[in-house]
């Protein structure tokens, strides 16, 4: 591909006090493609996602969006760029209903007053476009939903905003077989509609089912970023667990030179 990637991160460092969680991490995501981000527990995937979403400030590194360097200091900055994130812990307010959660922070208003009817219509249309049929009422509190339904609401919230980049942190972890298939289908459809999608998953079957590219993190470093068609299951597993696989990946994990 010659066109500039939609999102390009270079040399991202992130530390929490004395602990350095991300070292010189790079990640690119292209429009129309699904990029899978894989890595062991604690590799730093969720931390990287929070950096993309403006939740955590990065200590060093470049954040390029559509080829331009940008500053993302808050969730609002990220949303303004067209970046939507479904966090691993979902980040929904239990005491609010589905519509309120989907529009939280970006409510539709008529003058001073919340425009509940318009928001409900838009939410219903979005859920319908995702073929969600299991919620009884959009005015149901999120606390009354099952794990899978909450996941669906979180995804619908990200899709609602006509965004350019959607990042999903383990979106299928709480889902049953049918719902997982639906989410993967949705992920593929988003990419086919021209969005850039970053999907985090521990399930290699899911990754190979939908991903165009695979980025592997190992202990907070980028092990490799490859086309899914160029690697095998076993190679990806090796990248995840050891950080290298043959001539792919970190050649010297102690010094951490990226491939």
């Amino acid at each position: 591909m010659t066109e500039t990637p939609l999102l390009e991160l270079r040399g991202i460092d992130k530390r929490f006090g004395p602990v350095q969680v991300l070292h010189d991490v790079a990640l690119t995501a292209r429009a129309g493609e699904v990029t899978a981000l894989v890595g062991d527990n604690g590799a730093g995937k969720s931390t990287l996602v929070k950096c993309i979403g403006g939740i955590h400030p990065v200590d060093a590194g470049e954040y390029l969006f559509e080829g331009r360097p940008v500053q993302v200091h808050s969730p609002r900055d990220a949303a303004a760029l067209g970046v939507e994130i479904v966090y691993q812990d979902l980040a929904l307010c239990d005491n609010l209903d589905i519509v309120q959660n989907m529009f939280l922070g970006r409510e539709k208003r008529r003058g001073l007053v919340l425009d509940d009817a318009t928001m409900e219509e838009m939410a219903a249309a979005t859920l319908k476009s995702l073929s969600v049929r299991t919620v009884k009422s959009l005015r149901q509190k999120v606390s009354s939903l099952s794990g899978g339904q909450r996941q669906t609401v979180a995804i619908a919230k990200a899709v609602l905003w006509n965004s350019k980049l959607v990042v999903l942190d383990e979106p299928t972890a709480a889902l049953g077989v049918a719902q997982t298939a639906q989410v993967l289908e949705l992920v593929r459809r988003l990419a086919d509609n021209g969005l850039a999608v970053v999907l985090i998953s521990h399930n290699m079957n899911d990754v190979f089912a939908v991903a165009d590219r695979i980025a592997a993190l190992h202990l907070g470093r980028t092990a490799a970023q490859v086309r899914a068609s160029d690697v095998t299951h076993a190679q990806v597993v090796e990248l995840i667990t050891a950080g290298r696989s043959g001539d792919l990946g970190l050649q010297d994990t102690s010094k951490g030179a990226a491939a």
């Binding site: 969730p75 005491n95 409510e107 919620v135 009884k136 149901q140 049918a178």
Partner: protein
């Protein structure tokens, strides 16, 4: 107020069965979200019962408690039902209700303001000193009292939201500090009397009977118009709304309850009509009513209010949604202290003076009790301004009724304390219920 109690969005339909993760996601069903049929009455009723079973009690305990207490006291002491006592009850509770309304905002965030009582004392002292010692006009002095409240709230909120000291500690310190400030302002305990007729009118005067009826008519028409317009708009867009029958019942209840109250209050309650006539809706009623409307509008209809609920429900989710959590916290404390100032003004008016005890002793506990008894959760995220009114009436009825029965203050405190504990227990249990799903 009963009508406002049912203002929150309806949640028709049954709640999802818990414990069926994944398996409840059948895909072959006809689309439910897309088909906007209005729910039937039976279904609404079932939804309401389910919500109660799930621990979302809303105003039910407070309303039930109010009815039971009123029946109980009027059976034992018929004078409880007299016009004079009814009017007394309303004026007695007004100051504490204003403070409780402010506390609702802070409680919604899962925070507490233990200093609200003495903050109202400080504001009342500012009012009295400016009026009496400095000869300020009433509007200047009242504005200064409210401004004092705002500054206090700004200070408390900043310490909690920016510095990060737990609100319990900040406001406990302020509780002591403000007690000292009141003493200093009042020169070690002198009593400053208030002579300004406008300020005195707030808690002592009544609307003329005609004005009372006009006010009720205005409120009823406005309320009905709002409800009908909202429901029309929703059904025009094909969204599930409140069924017309329920709408009519709701509006009818407002009109009937309001009419009974206005009629009672408009009757002569002076013991000796020749000396002075005493009738009409106490002026504090529209004052509290206006605050209730404003507070309910803010919390239920604006995005600021929604953000207060969001921060109370999950601060992290609110932050990730781009909400300025620190601003919301500070604003809630400012609102709380401003309403405490209103409470202080009402108390000063009612007492005709301000002394070091204004806003002291049990004022704060009664206000917190009012909010919690009304159904506002101590854990944050759940509550409405109307809770403060309902709970405040319950507290006032207990105090008033037990007073009529000749119990000492000691017993009154003990009983009110127990009721608060029961309300907090109900709150904790309903929270556990919701957490279990």
């Amino acid at each position: 107020m009963t009508a406002l109690a049912s203002e929150q969005p309806e949640q028709p339909g049954k709640t999802e069965q818990p414990g069926k993760n994944g398996t409840s996601e059948r895909t072959g069903e006809p689309e439910k979200t897309a088909r906007p049929t209005g729910p039937g009455l039976a279904e609404l009723g079932r939804g309401y019962l389910d919500r109660i079973r799930a621990g979302e009690l809303g105003s039910l305990p407070a309303v039930a408690g109010l009815v039971v207490l009123c029946v109980f006291f009027s059976l034992l002491r018929p004078v409880f039902l007299s016009n004079l006592n009814f009017a007394n009850l309303l004026t007695q509770s007004a100051g504490s209700i204003a403070i409780a309304m402010g506390l609702v905002f802070v409680l919604l965030l899962g925070e507490i303001d233990l200093s609200a009582g003495y903050a109202s004392g400080v504001c009342a002292a500012v009012l009295a000193i400016l009026l009496t010692n400095h000869g300020w006009p009433w509007y200047g002095a009242v504005a200064a009292a409210l401004l004092t409240g705002a500054v206090i709230g700004l200070l408390l909120g900043t310490l909690v939201a920016k510095v990060g000291i737990p609100s319990f500690v900040v406001t406990l310190a302020a509780f002591l500090g403000f007690q000292g400030v009141v003493l200093m302002l009042l020169k070690e305990g002198t009593n400053v009397s208030i002579k300004d007729p406008t300020v005195l009118a707030i808690a002592n005067n009544n609307l003329s009977p005609v004005l009372g009826w006009l006010l009720l008519a205005g409120c009823a028409v406005g309320y009905a118009a709002l409800q009908v317009r909202r429901s029309r708009d929703r059904s025009r867009r094909g969204l599930a709304g409140t069924p017309p029958v329920l709408l009519a019942v709701r509006i009818g209840a407002v009109v009937v309850l309001g009419a009974v109250a206005v009629d009672l209050l408009n009757q002569e309650r002076s013991r000796n009509v020749l000396v002075s006539s005493l009738k009409g809706v106490p002026l504090v009623v529209p004052v509290i009513g206006a605050l209730l409307l404003l507070g309910t509008f803010t919390l239920q209809r604006t995005n600021f209010g929604l953000h207060v609920y969001a921060v109370g429900g999950s601060p992290e989710a609110a932050r990730r949604a781009g909400i300025n959590v620190a601003f919301i916290r500070i604003a809630a404390f400012v609102i709380c202290s401003c309403l405490a100032a209103v409470g202080g003004v009402i108390a000063a008016s009612r007492g005709n003076s301000v002394d070091p005890n204004t806003g002291g002793s049990n004022v704060l506990l009664l206000a917190v009790g009012s909010a919690v008894i009304g159904g506002t959760s101590l854990f944050g995220g759940r509550g409405r301004v109307v809770d403060a009114v309902l709970g405040g009436l319950v507290v006032a009825v207990i105090q008033n009724g037990m007073g009529l029965m000749g119990y000492s203050s000691g017993v009154k405190y003990a009983v009110t304390g127990s009721v608060l504990l029961v309300a907090a227990g109900v709150d904790a249990m309903s929270r556990r219920r919701t957490a279990q799903r």
